[in-house]
Symmetry: C2
Subunit: 169 residues, 2 copies
């Protein structure tokens, strides 16, 4: 095995990886427990990371930014090669799905923004028929797509009937 030898100097200690990735060492160990990254060990049991680990971490962080949990990130990550940079095709699928997630998120923010603007115009937030009110009320209970910015989806509960008569204040 002459190719692929991570020649000693290409190996990072956890401290170095921490510095370069911006993640705390504790976080890196946590990621390892979750199977997001892997390390070889020295004879003395210390972790050593290949530089490719930085790529995996980059991937995970980006995944978080598009709203994925670490578990979800792992699923996506597992579909990419562990020791190489992904090929264009491999990367494509992932990137595509992220694109649409991002687009959804942007669209959602645009909607919220539009509603805010409307509210400025009308000086409302009265209950009668404010877009923002309706946004937070019904949209919060709507399906996926409103979820990502909220820390947790609160509307997994009832939301049973359209018990909203006319918004009689």
């Amino acid at each position: 095995m002459i190719a692929n030898r991570p020649s000693r100097h290409d190996l990072l200690t956890i401290g170095q990886l921490s510095e370069r990735s911006g993640l705390a060492t504790s976080a890196l160990r946590y990621y390892e427990r979750l199977g997001l990254i892997h390390a070889t060990r020295t004879t003395g049991n210390q972790r050593r990371y290949t530089r490719g680990t930085l790529r995996r971490i980059a991937f995970v962080r980006a995944a978080q930014r598009v709203g994925l949990s670490l578990d979800e990130a792992k699923v996506a990550l597992d579909r990419l090669p562990e020791h190489r940079a992904p090929s264009g095709t491999e990367w494509d699928g992932v990137a595509q799905s992220w694109q649409s997630r991002i687009d959804e998120q942007i669209a959602e923010l645009e909607r919220l923004k539009a509603k805010l603007t409307g509210c400025i115009g009308c000086g409302c937030l009265s209950l009668t028929r404010c877009g923002l009110y309706n946004a937070a009320d019904r949209a919060a209970a709507a399906g996926p797509g409103a979820r990502y910015l909220l820390t947790r989806d609160p509307a997994t509960g009832p939301e049973p009937a359209p018990t909203d008569g006319p918004d009689s204040v």
Copy 2:
């Protein structure tokens, strides 16, 4: 007191409020503990809410959507009148600041998206100089503005020196 009487039928039980707001009753009690909403009590100690409470809840949910914590939402909420719909001017300040938060978030997503697109084009995620890599690496450690989509800011830690030499793989 003829004006302002919440004539009995304008008062909602916690169950009704739950239904109309999409929040669980437990969440509503939790919001009350945080001071986000308030209730009067019946002689038998049950909560009764005015319809205006729906407005407050709407506000809080919207605040969460722009990335505020409940504590932050409370601060904003406390600057608006408790029993009336806010005036245009009152609403303006809040809306303005939310607008810019939203704009930041959108911009951030656009950046991420652009980087993803770049990655599709170049088939990269190689360590050499991938925008996405740099995004997740440095941008994650960057100041406020990258924070909101991440559940927690991981870069409150060190990130001490520009220890990033050339990206020698």
